[in-house]
Amino acid sequence: MPDQPHDDPIVGRSLSGPLLVASLILLATLAWALYDEFYGLRPWKDYQQHFVHLYTQHLQERIQEQSAAEEELRRSPDYQRLEQALEEARAGVAPEVERIDREVNDLNRRISALTDVFATARGQVTAMIYEAETSPAEEDKEQILEEVERIRRQGFDARLPVPDGTMETLHYTYDELEDEYDQLRERRAFLLAHRVEVTQHVKELEEQRQTYRNQHIIGLAETQLRGLLTEARNLELEIKQIHVQDTELVDRCESCHLGVLEGRRVGIELTAAGIGGERLFASHPAPELLAIHDPERFGCSPCHGGNGRAISSPIQAHGRYRHWLWPLSYPENYQAGCQQCHARDMVLEHAGVLNRGKELYRLRGCIGCHRYEGFDNEPERLQAVRLQMRELELQRAGYELEIQRSIQRAENPDTPLEEARRLFARATNLRVTISNLEAEQEQLQLRARDLMREIKLVGPNLKDVRLKLRRDWIPVWLHNPHAFRPTTKMPRFRLQEEEIRAISAFIWQSGTSGEMPPQPRGDPGRGRELFETHGCLACHALGEGEDAVGSRFAANLSRVGEKVNYDYLVRWIHNPRQRTRPYCPREKRDLTPEDYAKHGLPFRFDFEHSTCPNDGAELQVQNMTVMPSLRLTWAEARDIATFLLTQRSQAPETYAGADFMDDPGLFERGQSLVRNYGCAGCHEIAGLEEEERIGTDLTTEGSKPIERIDFALLTHQAEREGWYNHAGFFERKLADPAIFDQGKVKEPLERLRMPQPNLTDADITALTTFLLGSVESGYGFPPQYIYQPTDRGRDIQEGWWIVTKYNCMGCHQIRIGQPSMLMTLPRYQTPEGREKLPPSLIGVGARLDPEWLAAFLANPALSAANLHRNGVRSYLEVRMPTFGFTVREIQTLVRFFGALSGQAQPYIRPQLEPLTNREWVMARELFTHPAAPCLRCHATGDPLHDRNATAPNFLLVKERLKPGWTRRWILDPASIIPGTAMPSGLFRRQGNRWVFSGPLPPSLRDYRGDHAELLVRYMFYLTRQEQRRLSARLASPGSVESRRISLNLVESH
């Protein structure tokens, strides 16, 4: 027997076990791969299926609603009448239409048959003529042309259909063929035109029916909805993406958010509630934003953040993981996306949170420590202007040298004549160039002066503390400003008792000493009245906590009586811009009366006397506050100050004595602390005027790499709790600026310096949103998306900075739907109160002559002599203040208002046609008509009359208004300023013109012109004498008669 073979592993051992396992593993892997391929990595497929389900359901519901609505419509008598008229009209024209259609049909067949023949013939002839034209030999040419002629005469056969269905064969020469062809086509064109005429009426009725339907049925028609339903059922499961070629942007957000743009595309709105409560399928909530940011061009992620290409999971797609730099914005911060491209817009439509953030940044004084590009950059611009001036100076010196050299060479007899002439010309040109440079230099010089005036600080001038404040109050304030005034801009610094003493002492001792001229006390009752009626509450508030009334733009004055020196306050209220000493930036100190006396000059400094007597440097001659002058009399200022002194909750004498403040030993310590805490960022402090901001530049803080943001010992906690990101840092830092010192052992001066700003949660969200959007150009969004408007857009953009800087919106409404501060005060809620409100500035660019507006902004009293009044609306108690605007601020504001109203610039005053004698008579009668007693309400300059006037003087019209606006205004004032005292309906439409609604005076009965137009021209040619004549006429006994007529009128209505 053969040897039993050894135990051969190949024969004897089976590998089927491992193989089976391996193949099972392989199979499982394959299954897993397939699963991942079709489901695991494709979560969007689930979303899409889910969407189809919900969407079809939703559409079906809608279809039901719509069909019910349409059924109801069809049953309505109006619709049936339209329907019937349409049917009748159709029936009426049907035979004619049928006849035309039949003939056209026959013609079409005949033409198409003839076209073949004619096209062939023409091709043949054309080809031969071309051959003749290009043939070199004369004889050939002639021969070919003869052949052409022969063919044309010989003619062609054409088989044409006859209306009865048979065919006929006709023979045509070439010319006949062409004629026949043209005739047939002409006939067809005629018939088709005729058909349009015949069916015209039917078309109109169809349109009427459609219009009626559109007016009564909202949304898509049932058939349209059915179309959508079919589409939705057949929705292909695929990645849906927006690809913007220019910017290489790919956003696949719609792969899951299927409804977000669907509504926009097809014209329906999907709400979360309507689509099964799934927010992710709802339509984009701000279609007005999409209208100006077409998603096909802008994509999604540039505004919202997130990883637009990722589709493997929501976390991936939303970029909410460590390595994606631009995670999806949190809902409360989504307006950060706007800031990325709209950094230069101070006020942005549709971005209230962001606007609030910017406003806070400026108003709460963040800007005092943290530079931000574009914010309060007047000092930087001033520096740039000075640099530019130096450059021009050098350029000019260079040109002068070149002139010297050119002339010298030209005058040298050895220089050839031609060359000499060229050099002389060169010298002349350079001289002209220099004179242009001089013009430019002059502008820069003015600009530099203006910029000095435009620089404003957040906090008050601390050089005046000794003149202004009660000494003992200062340390109490420093200890906790919010305890004294919860809404103050002044943040709370984390100061030791010793630090408070040193800082108080330094501030006190560095202040200007002296005495204010003593002021007698005024009448507090009258002071309160003035305070409440003159517009102080547009910026300030009175009352604490819930009881506060007024604005938070400037200080709440509830306890001002505890801290302030009366004599100083009077002067401040009279003119807050008036400094006690001018500041010289070159000498870096305030000038004293001695500086002026040295040069034999009076101690006088204002915009006309703004150069330093020592060295001619431009001085800072006004307090760097935005508070304007209300042009009050001294008596009024005293009344208001006396009233404000009563605003206190504890007696000033109860403050503990603080004699240490006069201890000179504390001065240096105090100064170094003040420097350390950056107080000079917001305050003017003697010796620290040129201090730099101490904080980080925040212009691109939102794109600072997260590793460079110091979460300190809280890093791990932040990661654990999911706030290790920019938003988390900003929010926590703003709520508690010391938070990232937690657990650290630091020397006092090394601790974080940022003080507690005492912000509400909403404020923190707004500021966080603003900072999150503060990113470098191109950070997560294509740089070409940055909004860089020209002309109109830029004028608007620039204007808002000034408007918000001076809080114009405290008194005026500038944006539709946004009330001014005054409009919200109880005083102005009654009908009488509303008439006392400052005018709305909506559409003011179309209303006012820009030149006039510029003059008005410079001096709202419109008078050099009588300043204590409103130049236009003398009847308003709220006083339009003098802001001391610079030329550029005025220009910017004028352009801003013009741009808001879409006005062309510069404005060229149109010349109105002068009135004929007859028109003067007619206009006068209209103007003083009892049914339009214009002069009853409008001021006339007569003090007795003007006491009760509620509208401006007509004599201002010519300079102040634009004729087009004036016409629109008298036709329908309520549509321009809702709630105006000026009545509408003075004119009614008659054909193409407007005629007076009241009983027509005899002189106007056969006047064919436009009455409104006539009145406008009259107003623009009105003179003082004419107005006086009219007033006299109204006051004469004859007016009793007119009043009677007006009474009759009222009765007859």
Partner: protein
């Protein structure tokens, strides 16, 4: 050579400093032209003379009256009517205010010192006195204002620098010069539009302006071939060529007609 370089360098440096200090002022004083290589000077022993008269061929020209009503001060300066000096005919039938000068290659290589005596141009009675002047290049022209009214002096040259300076009554004399040859430079007063004078600028002393006798004499000429040019404000220029030998005196007469000129 090194010295010259140093000199030029210093001049430029001074200029830079000068400009630096004087910026904002009217262009600084004209610099004296750099020294030129000395040419020959005329040997007075062999010098020749050319003399002659300038005749007018057509009887009595029409005289244009000047109306000075625009400035009462000007009117007061005159008794009776004032006539334009555009064509000034002497009693002997010759023309006054004709600028006669030598043009020609024969003078190349000579250099002539700039006369130290200035040419005087006065503004008197709202007229320029004399009506036409000649000056050598760089020779000072001293301009006076003898009128109790303000004039402005405004030369409009082609080859020299244009300037325009106001001269109030009693102003200090204005001293200027023209460094390049130019015949003629018109000079006007924009305040009194009728005022006009001409300055002939040549680079040598061989020029003159005819006076009341209508004669001219150009002396001190080196022997050679010359082109003699006579320029008249209204009738333009007439040229004649002349050859003079050593110490010779030649007579050359010019004559002008309204339609042009005849020799």
């Amino acid at each position: 050579m090194l010295l010259r370089k140093l000199l030029t360098g210093t001049t430029v440096l001074c200029l830079v400093i000068l400009v630096g200090c004087s910026r904002g002022e009217e262009a600084a004083q004209p610099q004296p032209p750099p020294a030129r290589p000395e040419g020959k000077s005329v040997d007075s022993a062999t010098a020749a003379t050319i003399q002659g008269r300038v005749l007018y061929q057509d009887g009595q020209p029409r005289r244009n009256r000047i109306r000075m009503a625009a400035d009462a001060v000007c009117v007061q300066q005159h008794q009776g009517p004032v006539y334009s000096q555009e064509v000034a005919l002497n009693d002997n039938g010759t023309l006054r205010y004709v600028f006669v000068y030598v043009k020609g290659q024969a003078l190349a290589g000579y250099s002539f010192p700039t006369p130290t005596e200035p040419v005087v141009l006065d503004q008197r009675g709202c007229l320029y006195t004399p009506h036409v002047i000649g000056a050598q290049t760089n020779q000072e022209i001293k301009i006076l204002n003898s009128d109790p009214t303000t004039h402005n002096i405004h030369p409009v040259p082609q080859n020299n620098r244009e300037w325009n300076t106001s001269m109030p009554p009693n102003a200090n004399p204005l001293v200027r010069s023209f460094p390049r040859e130019e015949v003629m430079i018109p000079v006007k007063c924009n305040v009194h539009p009728w005022m006009k004078t001409y300055v002939g600028v040549v680079s040598h002393p061989f020029f003159t302006v005819t006076g009341e006798e209508g004669t001219f004499e150009i002396s001190g000429l080196p022997p050679g071939d010359y082109t003699i040019v006579a320029w008249q404000e209204k009738f333009g220029t007439v040229e004649q060529t002349v050859t003079v030998g050593a110490s010779e005196t030649k007579v050359v007469d010019f004559s002008f007609t309204p339609g042009g000129s005849t020799d």
